[in-house]
Amino acid sequence: MLNLIIKDIIIQKKTFLYAFILAVVASTNFMNPGPNGFILYVFSPIFINYMFINLALSYDDKNKSEIALNSLPIKRNDLVIAKYISIFVFAAIGIIYSIVIGFIGKIVGLSMFTTTITLNNVVTILTCACIYNSILFPIYFKLGIMKTQIITVVLFFLIMIAFSNQNKIVDQKFIQFVNSSTLTLNSLALIASLIFFVISLIISVYIYNNKQF
């Protein structure tokens, strides 16, 4: 299982660089870091997670690697479970990047880096990553990357519209919610999303075990 996660990392070494650049740009130029460093400590780890997972799926699809992977001595269940575990690995990478960038920013003395990451931020990141990927994976295992990406783009635009200037209210409410909600509340959300994660995993295992290549 670990080998499969390492595989997803080896095939996209460049993503490490892109993700880092993205996190730096997003937190320094793109917009202000938001109250309590929302962009740096919540948005960019979630986006980095999205990037790694999507690119891993794209590389598998581009090279039709599922056929080779399923010809190797690997259980189908393990292929699915590894994808789900990789959510946490890639979230961890995003979190580590944020901490490093925040730390460097503070040392350098840039004005926007005033805060440090909180446990609350970590809980929010894990919740969002769990929910998003728990929706994504069953669709991917059932329909393949093309249709999954179309759905991803639609979701992305819906979120963008919700957060666009015309919809300042949603934007602010969300950020307010993220920042004001207590650790207890967020932890409950995380527990709910983990339950969702397990249900999604069971569905994906079922889909993948019946898949024909």
Partner: protein, 286 residues
């Protein structure tokens, strides 16, 4: 002699195609040529053996074990070479090796290195810069370096030039000197098999035509060429199929000795190649 692969009553239906009660065995240490025209069900059979698709009914035993129940165990000892390559093309050989190596218990780096050297493959170039022949060589190196006892090859020579095909066959010829390794070699380029195969399984439209030793085929099948006067209702019965033209006929028989007795010196009788057998069987009378 024990069988390394046993297929019994294997059936798989699609909307427009059915693999129908297929059965054949591969004895340990032998090379099975698996022939048939495009769309005859060769790839479907291989996908069923590799558990990439689900069978409707029948049995597949590899190394005496059911291929569904013992999927992981069996694949430890199978090497595969497909007609398309499923590598991560952005990577180089060594990165690809690093990905695959941990999955095999008996991976041997020295053997892998030796093959890469013998096949003259560049270690540092991205796989996407390789020619098709080089990719097949890489597949073969990966298939051979973990002590596989069964090598499954699905159309490895399709789209390759004759020089490379001949080189590949030489490589395979060396591999089969090891009596522990068996090969299932699917192809529609039947000349590839005349040199290396011990057995031939021929399928057409999802149905088994025959599964025999190559010697049996070479000794018994014949091509008869003569004038049309020789053809009557009785002699026609002797042939699998007949090609008639204004000048005469050419026909395939599966009993060359009987044909010699019937036609004596009135026509030309020669041994049939695998290609003749496939073409005449698939095409029918014309």
């Amino acid at each position: 002699m024990d069988n390394i692969l046993e297929i019994k009553d294997l059936t798989k239906s699609y909307k427009n195609f059915t693999l129908d009660n297929l059965a054949f065995n591969i004895p340990r240490g032998s090379v099975m040529g698996f022939i048939g025209p495009n769309g005859s069900g060769k790839s479907t059979t291989i996908k069923l053996i590799m558990n990439l698709i689900k069978r409707d009914s029948g049995d597949i035993n590899v190394f005496g074990l059911d291929n569904l129940k013992h999927n992981k165990e069996i694949k430890q000892k199978i090497g595969f070479v497909y007609d398309e390559n499923y590598f991560y093309e952005e990577l180089n050989i060594m990165e690809m090796r690093n990905i695959l190596r941990p999955f095999y218990k008996n991976w041997d780096d020295n053997v892998f290195e030796q093959y890469i050297k013998d096949f003259e493959l560049p270690k540092k170039n991205k796989i996407k810069s390789f020619s098709k022949g080089m990719k097949i060589k890489l597949s073969l190196a990966l298939a051979l370096c973990h002590n596989a006892e069964l090598i499954i090859m699905d159309e490895p020579t399709s789209g390759l030039d004759p020089v490379f095909r001949s080189e590949l066959l030489d490589i395979l010829y060396n591999i089969i000197q090891d009596d522990n390794v068996s090969i299932l070699f699917s192809t529609h380029i039947t000349t590839d098999l005349e040199k290396i195969a011990d057995y031939i399984t021929f399928i057409n439209k999802g149905k088994l035509v025959f599964t025999k030793t190559k010697d049996e085929i070479v000794e018994n099948y014949g091509l008869v060429k003569g004038s049309k006067e020789l053809l009557d209702n009785d002699t026609r019965q002797e042939f699998i199929s007949i090609k008639e033209s204004n000048f005469g006929f050419e026909a395939l028989t599966k009993d060359i000795i009987k044909a010699r007795n019937i036609f004596k010196d009135n026509c030309i009788i020669e041994k049939a190649s695998l290609e003749d057998i496939m073409v005449y069987t698939v095409r029918g009378n014309v």
